[in-house]
Amino acid sequence: MSDEDDPALRTLLELGRTQATRPTSELRRRVSAADGNNWLAAVLATDFDGNPVNADCVLCTPDGDMDYLRSQYQSAKQCFHAAGDEDARMRGLLWYLLLMAAAAAHHDVMLSSQPSATVTEALLEVAPDLPDPWGDLAARGAMAMD
């Protein structure tokens, strides 16, 4: 590797860091648990305003309204960072990731101010553990923002 490769070197050193305590690892454990699919369905059945929602329609098609995605994204972020229990935190994180993926994949919008590489890697980390259409959405979102 030459001196010009420093960004790649930094990324590779970052990739080497321990995963076990990362929130994405906790989310992977949650969705891979025996009741993971039921948990997922329940979490995605209600939005952060407490209203029933067709998440498939809102997140997996271009029909989702961008203003709605933005407001839900803020609520999901708040829930992820401030929730008192782990289950609610994971609900926030799941929505947070899928909303970012939907905005990128269907609207070409980057909701997060985090570096796109960070969000991309987080989405690719959880995508294989999510059943479709959510796994596919996460992967497509990652590709769109990379």
Binding site: R10, G16, L124, D136
Partner: protein, 232 residues
């Protein structure tokens, strides 16, 4: 879907070396092979960047240093007692070796010129506390390169060469994931599986290399953050 963890070494290099020291000549041979394989390149790069680089060809100097020091029975027992990272121990030892070489050369030249004077005086050895950053920068590069080699071997052994190639295309060649997916003719989710698997192999290899340098599992993140800082 991550691959099972592979363990090539015991938890710490200290343990591993300690066990081999008990094993006599054969054990020493194993230690020496490991040290030469893992540290020869960082030592050479370090030497080239130092003020001692005019002393000789880097390969000759580093090989001479390793042959001299690794042959000393007490070299690793002293390292074990020092509590230092092995890379820092080796660089400190290299400094002393270079000073010895400089003195030998100086004496030789002085004798040849029939000059009893010592006009230049011995070179000062740089403060190791300052030099640690230089060592670590060199080490970070060599560490990642070695981990890439290990991860590639690991992927190839399990028929995951495409996974590894995709990882390289993205992280080293800078190809966006969507282009990787097209190049490898896989859908986005499959691309995610391949990227995550290869990243997992790389992570295992990198952490294994850190263990070999004496970093405990609890110190991985701190060590990697430190290395990220020194290359910034």
């Amino acid at each position: 879907m991550d691959e099972p963890r592979r363990q090539h070494f015991p938890p710490t290099l200290n343990t591993w070396i300690g066990e081999r020291l008990v094993g006599g000549t054969m054990g020493r041979g194993e230690i020496n092979r490991h040290v030469m394989e893992a540290y020869e390149e960082p030592l050479r790069i370090y030497f080239l960047g130092s003020s001692w680089r005019t002393l000789g060809e880097p390969e000759e100097i580093v090989n001479g240093f390793l042959a001299d020091r690794l042959d000393r029975a007490e070299f690793f027992t002293k390292w074990q007692a020092s509590g230092k990272r092995l890379r820092h121990w080796l660089i400190n030892a290299l400094h002393f070796y270079l000073k010895e070489q400089w003195r030998k050369e100086h004496r030789h030249n002085a004798g040849r010129l029939d000059s009893g004077g010592d006009e230049d005086g011995p070179r000062e050895i740089a403060d190791p506390g300052i030099e640690d950053r230089v060592v670590d920068r060199t080490w970070a590069r060599a560490l990642v390169a070695a981990a890439c080699r290990d991860a590639q071997t690991s992927c190839q052994a399990d028929g995951l060469d495409d996974h590894w190639q995709l990882f390289i295309r993205h992280h080293l060649d800078g190809l966006p994931y969507r282009d990787c997916a097209a190049e490898f003719e896989v859908d986005p989710k499959r691309c995610a599986v391949m990227a995550r698997t290869a990243a997992g192999r790389f992570r295992e290899a990198l952490q294994e290399r850190l263990r070999q340098d004496g970093v405990s599992d609890a110190e991985f993140d701190e060590e990697l953050m430190h290395l990220q800082e020194v290359i910034a």
